[in-house]
């Protein structure tokens, strides 16, 4: 890669991660671990920050080690690296934000099996330079977080009439709360609608 080529590649990576190849609505991957906590904005926020950190750092580490890692055990090494960062995040939450740690329950640990992280490590970080991998991981995480946060804002607002626990005008008063939105089916419907909207935009863009 030439020095000039890298900046362009960088911009492409960012655009792909945020929109063009967005992990959630293009690939519908990795929603497992986070969708469950999207009924409260704050939980989603913490989860998304954790995920983005784990993803960027894992991609960076995988990329740094790529020239030494034997191909046949690379999956094991990737899992190990991801698990390492997840444990660190889990410990940090336990020590410095115990309430949040118990709110999120096992979902922090489930970041390990989040398909996006594995996917980016395998598809990008294993083949590219560290800095590019870090950017790729970070912006894929951001693209992912952005959509899940959108979902959580709608779910919390319609289901409980609040955002980040703060009561919203209209929604906490006159609005008849849709309890269904904070329950599991609400997550499916919200995600489906969001995918629908995003894909429709995407189709127009392509035409």
């Amino acid at each position: 890669m030439s020095p000039n080529g890298r900046t362009i590649a960088g911009r492409d990576i960012i655009r792909d991660g945020l929109w063009g190849n967005n992990p959630v609505f293009r690939q519908v991957l990795g929603i497992c671990s986070t969708l469950a906590v999207t009924n409260v904005v704050l939980n989603t926020l913490v989860m998304c920050v954790s995920l983005t950190c784990v993803m960027s750092l894992s991609c960076l580490t995988v990329s740094l080690l790529r020239n030494w890692t034997p191909r046949n055990i690379r999956m094991m090494v990737q899992v190990l690296i991801i698990a390492f960062y997840v444990i660190i995040v889990d410990l940090i939450l336990k020590a410095y934000w115990p309430d949040m740690s118990s709110n999120l329950g096992p979902y922090v640990g489930l970041i390990i099996t989040n398909c996006i992280i594995m996917g980016r490590c395998e598809a990008f970080a294993g083949l590219n330079k560290p800095v590019a991998s870090l950017i790729d991981g970070f912006f894929n995480g951001l693209g992912y977080s952005f959509l899940l946060l959108t979902i959580s804002v709608f779910r919390e607002l319609m289901g409980m009439g609040t955002i980040l626990g703060i009561e919203m005008p209209y929604f906490s008063g006159i609005w008849d709360k849709w309890i269904i939105m904070v329950m599991p089916p609400g997550a499916f419907f919200a995600l489906a609608c969001l995918i629908w909207v995003c894909r429709s935009f995407k189709a127009k863009e392509g035409a």
Partner: protein
């Protein structure tokens, strides 16, 4: 707790894992294979059987590993790594055994096994079992129930999606969009089971 009570608790846990707290429809675990594999009933059956086998076995192994190894050494926070390694190793092992002794079964199930290692539901079941502090007997019921619940959901979805191929769906909703909406409706239906327990 007396053994009879444990058995009863196991049955209740198993039932609730299948219906009222279905691991896929209420915890969203195992979504990736769910949206990608549920196009055909036949492949769903294969994957479902593999999941039932692996999940039941790995929750049991992980229970033993957690309570007798990690707790003994006070290394509980290592569970993430240990569980995922046990699951990966188990899947690899099963793959080898099946390949060696039953080539026919291998052709049916073989391709699904590698997919299972990254199935969040498998790791999820092990983590939930730790957090909820289940005893070994209850864990067996939970692991089995969760995997059966997952299989049930993916089978139902595959059945519906096969019919859907004939329907006209808005362009943006095709594929994952409509799958999620159906999953939402299924989740709604499953909430109805809550009253049973």
């Amino acid at each position: 707790m007396p053994i009879s009570e444990q058995m009863w608790l196991m049955l209740v846990t198993c039932f609730s894992a299948v219906f009222t707290s279905n691991i896929l429809l209420t915890y969203f675990l195992g979504m990736c294979p769910f949206t990608s594999v549920s196009r055909e009933v036949k492949t769903s059956v294969g994957l479902g059987l593999a999941v039932i086998f692996v999940m039941t076995a790995t929750t049991m192994i992980n229970w033993v590993a957690y309570h007798y190894v990690l707790e003994y050494f006070g290394l509980e926070y290592f569970r993430f790594i240990l569980f995922i390694i046990i699951i990966a190793a188990f899947v690899q092992f099963v793959e080898m055994v099946i390949d060696r002794y039953s080539p026919r079964l291998y052709q049916g199930l073989g391709i699904f096994l590698p997919l299972i290692t990254v199935n969040c539901a498998i790791l999820g079941a092990s983590l939930f079992m730790v957090i909820r502090d289940y005893s070994f007997i209850v864990t067996v019921g939970y692991g089995f129930g969760s995997s059966v619940g997952w299989t049930l959901a993916i089978l139902a979805m595959a059945g519906i999606r096969q019919r859907l191929t004939e329907s006209r769906i808005p362009a943006g909703l095709q594929g994952p969009g409509i799958t999620l909406i159906i999953a939402g409706l299924m989740a709604l239906a499953f909430i109805g089971f809550t009253g049973v327990l």
